[in-house]
Each structure stands twice: as structure tokens, then as C-alpha cells.
Symmetry: C2
């Protein structure tokens, strides 16, 4: 809490083309031409205009420009994620930003916190600012409120989950197959009693992963037991509690499939607190930093978040460039990373 000096505020207002034109002794339209790189302007005049602009500290007003311009483009896209602070959303944002930057496009970011109401509000706020396109990780299950915007030319791509009640492009991870891979991996290590701990079942990705879990068990002829299935939401605390509960059962699981990031971490904490990290196997869905450095390392089904983000951004810009092909959903593969926790063998009598 230091230093200072008289703060010079809003002394003069921002110069406009009019003022630059006056100083350079040309018409306003000529200034416009110079700043738009129109080649039919006398180099001497270009120099005079540039000089005048520099002297005044002139910067073009993109909002006015986009208003007048034919295409009405704002060179801005909107991005709605679950929470800008979480690693998945952060990496996604950055990847989209990278693609956008190549085209001089900036990204407006909003966090939804899984609140469908907020999703609508923020989507509207973005539309009101006339963003050229939207990248949305939807919180709700009904995006029909965007149907109007879609018809009036706002391009949009959904990420991680498909849009509900709206025909739109989407990029998703291979959730169901990833879950199947995870469970099969545990089965291969001899486990027959595998708990499922995941996010609320109302969340589409969670539902798909759960579906994969059930499918894999069914194929292996293992009876489904909802005693060892918990849809706990995405908090570490809830995951810790759930882990403790299932392991306190009279017939506890020998392996855990944790289908969401924070759930995985919560389970890791719980296992360590109980000293079971080396005897209960675990495979998590979604990789996380330092998963490899724990002991044992945590085996995961890793999503390729960069690929998801890049694909989504590229699809969006292709639409903006006029692609009118039918909408599609691109599925990005996941892959198993073995680090130790998923390879812990089942204890007790061997069923092989």
C-alpha cells in the first residue's frame, strides 16, 4: 500500500478519425482508407495520416467499424466453460484462444458453475455483444433457447457435451468407451468387485461414463451392485466420504473406478488416509497434474483436452468461413495411462 502521484484521469477523450483527418488535412474517408490498408492512397498522404494519428494517439474503434461494416463481425468469440479456474476449462480456453489468435479474434470467457440459468444469461450477454461465434460447455440439458441465434447467423460449437434440443456441432471425449477401458483394465488385474464413484448422474458425461461401467461389468458377467455405486457430485469432500463408505462395507470393493477429476483426487486422499493406497486399485477418468508422482502413481483414462479445444475452435471458424455442411459431433479418443494404482492385483482367492 504505497506510493502515488496525482492520477491524471479522463482528461481528454479518445481521438476519432475526424480529428485525425482534420490534423492531416484530408477527408475522414481517406483516414479510413489508410487504416484499412486500401492501396489506392497516395503514399505521401498515407504518411501524413499516420503521423497525425500517432501524434493524437489515435486507435480505430472496432465496435463502430463492425457496426457499419457489411459483415458485422466483431472479431470476438464467446466461450462458456464450467469454471475458468479448473484445469480442464483453463486448458480448453487456452487452446481455443490459440486458434482464435491466428485470426485476430479475441475470446470472451464466462464460467457457468453447472448452472443452466447462468448459461442462458451469459449466452445472452455474449449475443448482445454480437460475438461472431460461441464455444459452449453446456451446463443445462436444453439449448433450444439458442435456436434463434443459430438461425440469425451466430455460429456455435458445443464441447464436452452435446447440445440438447438443438441441432449443432459438438466435440466430445470418448466417455463411454473410456469407462469401458478403465473397467476392463481393472478386470484384467483380477478385480471382480469394482466400485463406481462419479459425478451426479444428471451430468451427461457422468451418465455416459457410468453407462460404460455398467456395460463392461455386464459383458464380464458381473452382477451390478448399487451398494458400491455413488453419484456424489464433483467435490473432493463428498468423494472422500463416499470412498470411506464403500470401503467400510462388509463386502468392500477391491478396486475403484472414479469417473471425475475431483472425485479421483478425493478417493486418492481417502485411500491414503486409510492406508489402503497400495491394496485397493484405482483408475480415474481424466488426467491431473502430479498423478505420476504419487506412490503409487494414479492410472487414468486421459482426455486429450488440447485436441478437443482445437477441434472445436477449428470447427467454429470453418462455420464462420461459410461452411454449411450438416452439423456433426466429433468424438476425440481417450487413452489409458498405467501408473501403478490401476495395476494393483485383486487380493484374496484368485478367480482365474
Amino acid at each position: 500500500m504505497t506510493q502515488g502521484e496525482a492520477a491524471p484521469r479522463s482528461t481528454r477523450s479518445r481521438p476519432t478519425m475526424r480529428e485525425v483527418a482534420a490534423l492531416a488535412g484530408v477527408a475522414i474517408k481517406t483516414v479510413s482508407r489508410v487504416f484499412n490498408g486500401v492501396p489506392t492512397v497516395d503514399p505521401a498522404i498515407v504518411a501524413r495520416v499516420r503521423e497525425a494519428a500517432d501524434k493524437l494517439g489515435y486507435r480505430p474503434n472496432l465496435t463502430a467499424s463492425s457496426l457499419r461494416r457489411g459483415d458485422g463481425r466483431t472479431a470476438t468469440i464467446g466461450m462458456l466453460v464450467e469454471d475458468a479456474a479448473n484445469p480442464f476449462s483453463a486448458v480448453l480456453t487456452r487452446t481455443v484462444e490459440n486458434v482464435a489468435r491466428e485470426r485476430g479474434v479475441l475470446v470472451l470467457v464466462g464460467s457457468l458453475d453447472e448452472d443452466p440459468e447462468r448459461e442462458r444469461e451469459l449466452a445472452r450477454a455474449l449475443v448482445d455483444r454480437r460475438v461472431d461465434g460461441l464455444v459452449i460447455v453446456p451446463a443445462g440439458r436444453d439449448q433450444s433457447y439458442l435456436i434463434n441465434e443459430q438461425h440469425t447467423g451466430t455460429c456455435m460449437v458445443f464441447v464436452d457435451r452435446e447440445a440438447g434440443l438443438l441441432d449443432a456441432d459438438a466435440v466430445v471425449s470418448e466417455n463411454r468407451q473410456g469407462a469401458i477401458t478403465a473397467v476392463n483394465h481393472l478386470l484384467k488385474a483380477g478385480h471382480r468387485r469394482i466400485a463406481y464413484l462419479g459425478d451426479r448422474a444428471s451430468i451427461p458425461t457422468a451418465a455416459q461414463r457410468f453407462d460404460g461401467y455398467r456395460h463392461a461389468l455386464e459383458v464380464a458377467h458381473i452382477e451390478y451392485d448399487d451398494e458400491i455405486v455413488r453419484h456424489v457430485g464433483s467435490s473432493e469432500e463428498a468423494a472422500i466420504a463416499a470412498t470411506e463408505q464403500v470401503l467400510a462395507l462388509s463386502d468392500p470393493p477391491t478396486a475403484l473406478f472414479t469417473s471425475q477429476n475431483f472425485v479421483t483426487i478425493g478417493a486418492v486422499r481417502a485411500l491414503r488416509a486409510m492406508g489402503l493406497q497400495d491394496s485397493v486399485a484405482q483408475v480415474g477418468f481424466d488426467d491431473f497434474p502430479l498423478a505420476d508422482i504419487l506412490s503409487p502413481g494414479i492410472s487414468v483414462i486421459a482426455q486429450d483436452v488440447e485436441q478437443v479445444g482445437r477441434t472445436a475452435a477449428e470447427m467454429l471458424f470453418r462455420r464462420l468461413d461459410g461452411d454449411e455442411s450438416p452439423t456433426r459431433t466429433v468424438t476425440v479418443p481417450t487413452r489409458l495411462i498405467e501408473r501403478g494404482s490401476g495395476e494393483i492385483p485383486a487380493e484374496g482367492p484368485c478367480h482365474d
Copy 2:
């Protein structure tokens, strides 16, 4: 890569107030009044206008509005961070977003990757879009290029590092004192040979932390030895290499002060690879997820990123509300979190 249906694109263009007015049978100005909540409109007319707007799917154009409006506010601020994907930046972004949201303000985000050129480009891009204010984690050491914008009424707050050659508000963490605390903590555990591993010295925060390191050693009458000081940048790989190097010295350090996030994590990896995690002490600057779950847990000087972000956003909005008090720099305290790695005692002959 599935599904599809004829994609209906840009069929009609977005409706305007003119069209709503025509449908409702009123003047365009009346529509404007309705959407701005002006109370002197007949409720029956309000209803008619709203109905017409809904039928057309009308949404006001904020860019046009802000152009015409007296204050010229766009209800958008710009945020430039080091990398939207890294946890520090992501949390910062989210905190600023939260404060902005309360005021109906959206946030444009850009990543600088420590590139001063990019900083200028993106700052310009934001100014060209007439953002109401800027929150900047500066990459360069010279922000005088913003002097014009400052004088023409663009408010700005710098975060994590103060602005160079520009008198502007800033919110920074207690870097020097935090480093002193870290080193003192290691001294208290009996260490006399403490390595410094940090980001490039050209980065202001790194320089301040390094300064704290030297100061603490000086106060403790320990001779400075640049054999065990490495300014390695912010990559894990470089940190791993540096850690290996200093520990391979004939007179290796018994403790490490790692002054940056990725450096800390790199050192953690290197120590584990060498099996030294329980014999070489370590204190890191900046907390990171799962630091507590490692064994030993990693002791850190934690920055209060939320507080930094919130403070910066609040300062910015106070300026936007007309605060013309002298600029100031707010310093947010850091705190030591003991988790084990920093409490490992010095081996060998005791000097006490």
C-alpha cells in the same frame, strides 16, 4: 463423427429495433425506452413491444448502444495473463470474472507467454474494442505505450508485477518477504547451505524473491555462493536438470528454496528420482494442488491468488466509478504452509 441434418445457416439476419417497432406499431424510440426500462411508457405498450420482440427473437445490440451512449461503456474489460491454462492465471481470471459479473461486465482474456510484443499487440486489440478497463499481468518491463490510453480514460490495474515507466495501480504479492520467510524457515531447521532455484532473473517477481533469499542469508551471516543459485526459467525440465546439478556438487546443498511453481515441481520430481525427497529439505514459492498429498508434503509460501484477483478487480471498478485518488500498489501477504519437506532437519554436523 456422427449424425447430421441440413444445417440452416444465416437464413435471415438479426432483427433490429426498427423491425420490432414496426411489428408493435410504435416508434423505434419507444422500443428503446422499453428495453432501457424507462418508466414513462404505457404498460400496454410495453407489453406489445415485448411481445413483438419475443416473436422476432430480438436482442439489443450492445455495441451500437455503447457507441451512441454518452459514457461509451462496453461493459467489457480486458484481462491479460501469462497463460490462461496455468493455475495461477486461471484462478486470477476466475476471481476477476466473479467481481465483474456482479456488475454485468464480461471479461476478454488473452495469454502473453511472457512475450512483451504480444502484450502490446493484445493490449491494443483490447483498446480497439473499447474495453472499459484492463487487468494486466505484464510480460514486459515497459508499459509506457499505454500512457495514451490511460490519459484518454481507459482504467487499468497491474497484477503480480508493477507497471514499468507508467504510473498505475497495481496489486502484488509479498514476494521479497515471502522469500525471506522461506529461507528463515530452512535456517531454523539447521540448514546453512540452501540452494536457490528460480525463474529467469529478468522477471520482476523472480528478482524480488531472489533478493529476499540473499537478504535472509546475509542477515544469517551465511556467505552467498552462486554455485548453488540457478535462474532456470519456468520449465519443469530445466528445474530437474538444475536440481540434479546442484546436488551433484562436491559440497551439495542440504535444502532447496524453489521460487516458482514449475521449478518447485521439477525439483520435487528430481529429488524423488534421486531418492532424496526425505533427506533434502525444500520450500517452494506458490502453492499447488496435491502438494499436501505427496510424501513428504511440500512446504510452500502460498500466495493468496483469490485475494490478489479480487483486490485488482475491485480497484479497477472503483476507478471506473470515478475514483481519482493517487495510484497505489497494494501488497497482498503470503503465508508459510508447513507440510513436511521444509521441516527436514539438516544432516551432518550440527552447527548450533
